[in-house]
Amino acid sequence: MRKIVLPVITAAVLLVAWHYAVRLSGTKIFPSPLAVGKAVVTLAEKSLLWHYIADSLFRVAAGYLLAVVLGVPTGILLGWYPPLARAFNPLIQMMRPISPLAWMPLAVIWFGVSNLAPIFLIFLASFFPIVVAAMNGVRDVPPVFLQAGRNFGLTPAQQMRRIVFPAVLPRILVGLRIAFGVAWLVLVAAEMIAVDSGLGYLIIDARNAGKRYDLVVAGMLLIGGIGLVLDVAIRRAERFKWVRWGFKES
């Protein structure tokens, strides 16, 4: 209860300030909170909103889950076999700073006007942070753990399953959270091309279709709100018993 009192007060104060700022300045470009609220209601009534949210969530889920499924094993392998890391790490470090948006032209040529283009961009955005987190996590497994495993007669496969994997799980979870944040960031831009639905499309469409800035801001707030809910959900995962040991008591 106490945890939400302050944020709620802050939000209320900002909303009031926003409302009066729009009214007193008489701006025509920036909508008031009431106009944004009305826009959200209109969208919801036309069921367009749920359709867009579902489409956006599907694209993020598909690209992100693909990145998890491929990125976690890749990262663990790279961390476990140092020669492999030496061979591939420079490439990974070079690919990582390239914004996924730079891939947009290629994505459109490869995948055309379809769901695959934004899914591909979201995959790219989340793949590298996951790989790097898993790789560094495996490298940082304290040698005493592995030594103890050898001492108890574990085979390399058992070492992997009973020591390396549980030891890196918290680090991987941190990587997954960072990757999700990036994936959600990229979503909007990814939906501005190649598709005609989704929250990103909503924003670009509202602007193009007659400068409906109430819808633009509504889209922004929806993206922020959903992102927040999903981030909280991922944080919940830090309390699972297999990973809780790796996080500070909160």
Partner: protein
């Protein structure tokens, strides 16, 4: 279970670390390897444990040459060796994957009791004190019923009061289980309190400077003349006046 260390030499690159170390540890004996920090005594223990290969020389256990680590001889690190993702029970049962469920459960229960962790079976290491984590690691080692325990400065990270209690605990456990123990320390008092024999190592490159028989029965009176005499003779051996 006799541990025989024969003419071990070790170099790291050009730097000689161990210089022709030979030592025999008898079955059920408690031997402390004592030396200044960085002298190579931990390296020696790692060679004996099969984790590191010596430059020359070899180690045999009952005539069988050591080439790799073995569950019959368990290495105990400072308390940071316990697995933080496993509970007390999970840690103690870690090496028992070859046993049936019921025997495993009985072993775990027995060693939880032996090291005084009753009531903490489901606790995670982060919820335990340093001394409890250390006892947990000893229990994890003992649970696989090894013949030999190698302890590498196991109490080094504990405060001095806990350290004293842990020594008493270790002696009690040793007297119950009668394992052969090789214990590396840089603490002179600790070695005289625990060991049947203290092996005094020199500065690097380390060789055995002297072996001192501690002929005081347990429990040892730390103010008895014999204790003080032996302790001071080791101080003198290392070249320290016993004064601050």
């Amino acid at each position: 279970m006799t541990v025989a260390i024969r003419n071990i030499n070790m170099r790291f690159g050009e730097m000689p670390v161990l210089d022709d170390v030979s030592l025999e540890v008898r079955d059920g004996e408690f031997v402390c390897i004592l030396g200044p920090s960085g002298c190579g005594k931990s390296t020696l223990l790692n060679i004996v444990g099969g984790f590191v290969k010596a430059t020359s020389g070899h180690v045999t256990i009952d005539g069988e040459q050591v080439t790799q680590p073995d569950p019959r001889r368990i290495f105990v690190f400072q308390e940071r060796g316990v697995f933080p993702w496993l509970t007390v029970e999970g840690n103690i049962g870690f090496g028992l994957f070859r046993l049936g469920e019921e025997e495993k459960r009985n072993r775990i229960a027995y060693y939880v009791q032996l090291v005084g962790l009753r009531g903490f079976e489901h606790a995670y290491p982060r919820e335990l004190s340093g001394g409890m984590k250390q006892r947990l690691e000893v229990a994890r080692a003992l649970a696989v019923n090894p013949d030999v325990l190698y302890l590498d400065e196991p109490f080094g990270a504990l405060d001095s009061i806990t350290r004293l209690q842990m020594r008493r605990e270790l002696l009690r456990i040793w007297q119950t289980e009668r394992k052969t123990v090789l214990f590396v320390t840089h603490d002179i008092e600790e070695s005289v309190q625990l060991a049947d024999r203290v092996v005094v190592m020199s500065q690097r490159p380390a060789h055995i400077q002297r072996i001192v028989d501690i002929d005081i029965p347990h429990p040892r009176d730390l103010s008895s003349p014999r204790y003080i005499e032996l302790r001071d003779s080791i101080f003198a051996e290392i070249g320290l006046a016993h004064q601050v």
